[in-house]
């Protein structure tokens, strides 16, 4: 990667946090030092000449979907690199899961190795990054042990399930029950691919089926089902499932439909960094024709509300 190094600054040194939010003054200073103000459009970018009508940095943003797949020799280097970009985009906190390299059907040892990488990144972030425990439900007993290690006895605050097995299967039930005991939300990759899903890849309907068996659990449908026009419909009646909009192209209309069909309280921002950009995924929300209070719920309010019980149990300040 070639980085524009001249005049690029360390935003962590210039950002000023106030009540957990990045202040406009800090952004304007940072933008000026970075030399971006001369080239940016009017609506969302900080301007030195006048107060912007709506700055990207006026929003509190928590990104609920990210990975360590960025340059760096260690998890610490990788999270440092990612947070540098998060700072530029006004993202206060990120949730990370899965280490590197990935496997569709990881062994219990591989799952532990990846969670250890995430734990290192979380520790390094000094409160900016939270971890969700990555599990392979095919190995149910080992998953329960890993859940205890990472969430009950460790700093992680949720569960991530990917593509090892479709989430409608019964072997997930003990894992979800344990997650409920720990107050941990469960984020499940969901996708409808007209080109064909992986054998263990869940659809949004699979997640709705699991959610119906566990009405007290909190679920996040990652990628809003991929093909979001189908995915949103599939979880519409599953009121304990929240649609998370990461991972797809910044197609116009996804957030508007999600808010219309689910309500703003059941929509969340995530990016799927570093494979996706913060930019394209934030745009889905900030460019959407939805009310301002809906944007604020989607960008941070809903995940903060969902994580409040486990944060309280762990003594983590919101």
């Amino acid at each position: 990667m070639v980085l524009e190094t001249m005049r690029v600054i360390d935003w962590k040194r210039t950002m000023q946090f106030r009540n957990g939010r990045i202040t406009r003054r800090a952004v304007l200073i940072g933008a000026a030092q970075a030399g971006v103000a001369a080239s940016v459009p009017s609506r969302y970018q900080p301007s030195l000449a006048a107060e912007p009508s709506a700055s990207l940095h006026e929003y509190l943003v928590w990104d609920v979907h990210g990975h360590l797949n960025t340059p760096g020799d260690t998890p610490r280097e990788r999270i440092d690199n990612l947070l540098k970009f998060a700072d530029r985009m006004g993202i206060e906190r990120v949730i990370v899961f899965m280490g590197y390299p990935w496997a569709y059907d990881p062994s219990p040892d591989d799952v532990r190795r990846q969670n250890d990488q995430v734990l290192q990144a979380v520790k390094r972030s000094r409160g900016r990054a939270f971890g969700f425990a990555y599990l392979n439900p095919k190995h149910t007993e080992e998953s329960l042990d890993e859940l205890d290690r990472c969430v009950r006895d460790g700093p992680m605050v949720g569960v991530k399930l990917w593509v090892a097995i479709r989430c409608r299967e019964k072997c997930l039930d003990p894992i979800v029950r344990r997650a409920v005991q720990l107050k941990a939300p469960v984020l499940q990759h969901t996708w409808y691919k007209i080109t064909g899903n992986l054998p263990g890849e869940s659809t949004a309907a699979d997640l709705a089926s699991l959610a119906a068996r566990h009405p007290t659990a909190s679920f996040i449908a990652a990628h809003a089902g991929g093909d979001w026009e189908r995915g949103i419909r599939a979880i519409r009646s599953a009121t304990n499932v929240t649609a998370e909009i990461s991972g797809g192209d910044p197609t116009a209309g996804v957030v508007k439909m999600a808010v219309r069909e689910l309500g703003a309280e059941r929509v969340m921002y995530g990016s799927d960094f570093a494979g996706r950009s913060f930019a394209s995924q934030l745009a889905k929300v900030l460019g959407a024709d939805v009310p301002e209070n809906a944007k604020r719920l989607i960008l941070a309010g809903n995940i903060k509300r969902m994580l409040a019980p486990i944060f309280a149990a762990k003594g983590i300040p919101l």
Binding site: V2, Q45, R88, P250, A252, F278, S280, K284, L286, D289
Partner: protein
């Protein structure tokens, strides 16, 4: 100042889009700081009456303030008498270029008719916009599955047409790595950023594509326009670099057309 080289008018056949009516689109362009947009038409993707598509495109572009919408007409070389559509774009409508949809029009880039179209466009001094992808193939309508354009024949075609200016639209999730390098070496090819992904995407792209070959493109209204503007911020470009990508490279392309 931003010149957005990838904007479309009219309606996408499979979904209403928030800015698929002209007043809303113009408002969005203005809100995001876009001072000029190179506009094709979604109608050009599937309609067979391409002459009508391009006539409406011209009418719509004239409804905006002068210079905001710059029309790029559709040409489908599988239709009878496509050369007349090309002539009208150039001579009657004074368009700076044309927009091609090989995947939707059903021809490959090694088809001799495509080579002829490029030759004629070069002779007329028209910019050629080639749409590699409109929509993620995983999410298309089940009865309308359209693969990305296979660009492998392009280096050879470009090398034989050194005066041709080719802008690839929606290419950067499809054309990657060495294929990009080959295209850059082969001729005057440009990439726009609408499909570019990954954290710090433009910074990464600059490791493979010279800064004077990258254009600002949003794929609006199919994509949210802010996606492209936010990418500028995420990569924290030097002002000179940002200015080149947001408008100077596109302006230079247009100047070349005018000179021709």
């Amino acid at each position: 100042m931003i010149i957005d080289v990838n904007v479309s008018l009219s309606r996408w056949p499979f979904r209403r889009l928030p800015c698929d009516e002209l007043p809303r689109l113009i408002e969005k362009l203005r809100d995001c700081g876009v001072t000029e947009a190179w506009a094709g038409s979604f109608d050009g993707v599937l309609h067979k009456d391409i002459g009508g598509v391009n006539a409406r495109l011209i009418d719509d572009c004239r409804k905006s303030r002068p210079g905001l919408l710059r029309p790029f007409g559709s040409v489908n070389p599988t239709l009878p008498d496509w050369r007349e559509d090309l002539r009208r774009c150039h001579e009657d409508y004074r368009m700076p270029g044309i927009r091609l949809h090989p995947a939707y029009h059903g021809y490959r880039l090694d088809d001799p008719v495509f080579a002829e179209l490029l030759t004629q466009a070069q002779r007329r001094g028209l910019i050629v916009q080639l749409v590699v992808r409109i929509e993620d193939p995983r999410m298309q309508h089940p009865l309308m599955r359209v693969p990305d354009v296979d660009t492998k024949p392009l280096p050879g075609l470009l090398a034989a047409r050194p005066e041709l200016s080719l802008v690839l639209l929606g290419a950067l999730q499809t054309v990657r790595g060495e294929a990009i390098t080959q295209l850059i070496r082969a001729g005057e090819v440009y990439f726009e950023i609408s499909m570019l992904e990954g954290v710090g995407g433009i910074s990464s792209l600059l490791g493979r594509v010279p800064g004077d070959r990258i254009l600002f493109g949003s794929h609006c209204p199919f994509f949210v326009l802010e996606s492209a503007t936010f990418k500028l911020q995420e990569s924290r470009l030097l002002p000179a670099r940002a200015n080149a990508i947001t408008h100077q490279n596109a302006r230079r392309l247009l100047t070349g057309v005018a000179a021709t």
